[in-house]
Amino acid sequence: MTGNAPLRESAAQGGVSPDPARPLAIEARGLIKSFDGTRAVDGVDLSVPEGAVYGILGPNGAGKTTTLRMVLGIIDPDAGVRRILGHDRPHEVAHAIGYLPEERGLYPAMKAVEAIAFLGALRGLPLKEGRRRGRELLERHGLGHAADRQIRQLSKGMAQQVQILGTLVHRPRLVIFDEPFSGLDALNQGRLEAMMRDLAAQGTTVIFSTHVIAHAERLCDEVAIIAGGKVPFAGSVDVARDRIPAQVRLETRAREGAWRAALPEDARREGRFWYFPLPESGIEPLLRALIEGEAGILSLSIERAGLHDAFVAIAGEAAARAMGQDGPEETGS
């Protein structure tokens, strides 16, 4: 890494500052991009530690793709700075990066193995080596039979897998997936998740954008939430979840009694259950008051907030609703 220091100062937005000892795969400060007078990205900051699985969450049109394109040097920001693997010019480290764009694309007449080798060649891998690794990867992922078939002869899902393998064939240090799960069935989504975990285990930095929070919740160490071209939160998933107090679910035998005074004002009742945020004083004083008030506790559980709840709280209901309308994958996996 070269010259990370000047960019580190405002690393986290509403999250926690990244560990200064940990090198950053991506740093971006104040990225701004407008298209025809519409501001698509409005001052985005990102700090992605090396070796992390990092999720960029946001509804469609939030600015995820534009941010990634700026980081990768596909387009230049109107303002702001970005550094990728320590370089200001992303193409200088293109050989160490893998990128799967949101809009998948391969040459229809190319054979699968040639397509993988070509994607590797674009990143500096010799064609011969690319073909060898391509066959190996296809075999390993159950697509060996498709190696010599043209892309146009493959199903959409298979072609997408071929492109994913092409993204990895040159063994990049940093892999960026833009909406990688869209277009994949549940089985292949699971396989892709496993592949991402494997990559991370090998020390590869994995960044992916998604509008499906479940994927981020399962995979990510850290996330950035993008809404309306801004990043209201960037930090660890735990910190995001901790933003919402844990929820208490209480079931009592008695319906009325002195114990009710122990419940917070915003407690709501649904059938036999009471729901309310865990009081700041903790669970013990509450338990004591319930017992002394003869509530007759049948069950009591403390549920930690999910990333979805955190996202709703951070990005706002509107963004959450937008994500809910984004497509069938929303409920998947």
């Binding site: 596909i74 230049d76 040459y107 500096g124």
Partner: protein, 418 residues
């Protein structure tokens, strides 16, 4: 690709290496596609249509040409006339009209020459009647006036019976006069220029369709993320140039074989000032620069278009401008040493045509060096501009734009009565 990296591992690509990756892929993909086979056959269709039209035209012409004079006279008189015509035709060739006996008059027969002209399918354009001493020509005014002299000459010969002695003209041949040579070289220059223009226009459009196809495949973002856009553009341009040169070589070899097989149809062009081998070499160089210049403009245009229809709309003005540029270069060729010629030689889009024409007319080779270098610099500049435009215009995403309501001349005012 970089030679410094470890074998089997990826390393940073220079712009040229990246362009090579693109060029290699495009070249191989196009060369082994069915489309290329049809592309090679492409010029065959106009040639076939031309041959067909030519043979039909020739037949029509054959039927219509060679108008003859019909003889309506006594048979002995007709023989005198025909014999005299043969004698003169041997000396004067086609200047003497063809003649044929239409009707031999019997003694005392009264025959109206006009009737011999009516309803005849043959090429009888006029009727010669009377005798060699008093010939009468009947036919349309323009025709009989043009034949008046030759017919009188034939009649005079028929009267004389023998050929008068003609003095021998001594002939001394030269290879060419300076006027003939200048004119011949101008024709050669014109031919070279036209061929260059036709090839450039025909082939440069391929770059456009290639880029639009790329956008359709959505692979362009993968390319843009991995290598500089300049490399993508350069790779595409050089791949298409390579494909074009393969096409030209194939067509050239075919045409050459055809011409050698039937050497009688070999066009007789004056040797250009720099000689044929050098003109061909310069032709290849100037084709490359003209192709790259026009191709880079088409690439920039292609970057703005998303559909083939848009491509056609956007490329039309470019084609028209290129046509004007060709006319400029053609005109400049006839105006050596004028400001127009210098402008055509300097202006990047006309320079390849003007310089090739110059090579046909002027033996100096040195001016071609700076010209080629300048054109290469223009290609680089245009590629940079095109790729910058592409990055700016194409890779857009983000929130959908809210369309601002436009004022319309025909918009009904609120509350207006219907």
């Amino acid at each position: 690709m970089s030679d410094t990296r470890e074998p089997g591992h990826s390393g940073r690509l220079s712009t040229l290496s990246a362009a090579w990756v693109i060029a290699r892929r495009d070249f191989v993909a196009i060369l082994f596609s069915r489309a290329f086979f049809f592309f090679l056959l492409g010029p065959l269709f106009p040639v076939l249509v031309g041959i067909l039209a030519g043979s039909v035209g020739q037949r029509v012409q054959q039927t219509a040409q060679s108008p003859e004079i019909g003889l309506v006279m006594a048979e002995t008189e007709a023989r005198r006339i025909l014999a005299a015509r043969e004698v003169l035709a041997a000396r004067l060739g086609d200047a003497v009209p063809r003649m044929t006996l239409v009707h031999a008059l019997a003694e005392g027969e009264d025959y109206e020459p006009r009737s011999a002209l009516e309803g005849r399918a043959a090429n009888i354009a006029a009727i010669l009647s009377g005798t060699a001493e008093a010939p009468q020509l009947t036919g349309p005014r323009t025709r009989i006036e043009s034949w008046r002299g030759p017919v009188a000459m034939v009649a005079a010969q028929a009267q004389a019976g023998e050929l008068a002695p003609w003095p021998e003209v001594r002939l001394e041949t030269t290879t060419s006069s300076s006027a003939t040579e200048r004119r011949g070289r101008l024709t050669t220059a014109q031919g070279a220029q036209t061929l260059l223009f036709l090839l450039t226009m025909m082939l440069a459009g391929m770059v456009l369709s290639n880029l639009v196809e790329e956008k359709g495949n959505k692979i362009i973002e993968v390319l843009a993320a991995a290598i500089p856009m300049e490399a993508v553009f350069m790779g595409k341009l050089f791949a298409m140039l390579g494909v074009s040169l393969v096409g030209i070589a194939t067509w050239g070899a075919t045409v050459g074989a055809v011409l050698l097989a039937g050497s009688s149809v070999l066009p007789t062009l004056t040797t250009p000032a720099v000689g044929w081998p050098m003109l061909v070499a310069l032709g290849v160089v100037y084709f490359a620069t003209a192709y790259l210049l026009l191709g880079s403009v088409f690439l920039a245009v292609g970057s703005l278009a998303t559909t083939v229809r848009e491509v056609q709309t956007l490329s039309m003005p470019v084609t028209m401008v290129q046509l004007l540029v060709f006319f400029l270069a053609s005109y400049a060729m006839t105006q050596p040493g004028t400001a127009i010629e210098y402008f055509a030689l300097i202006f990047p889009f006309s320079a390849p045509f003007a310089m090739l024409a110059r090579a046909a007319q002027d033996p100096a080779l040195l001016p071609h060096v700076p010209a080629v270098l300048a054109q290469c610099a223009w290609v680089l500049l245009l590629v940079r501009l095109g790729s910058a435009l592409f990055r700016k215009r194409v890779m857009k995403s983000g929130p959908a734009r809210v369309k601002k309501p436009r004022r319309s001349l025909f918009r009904r005012k609120a509350g207006a009565k219907v």
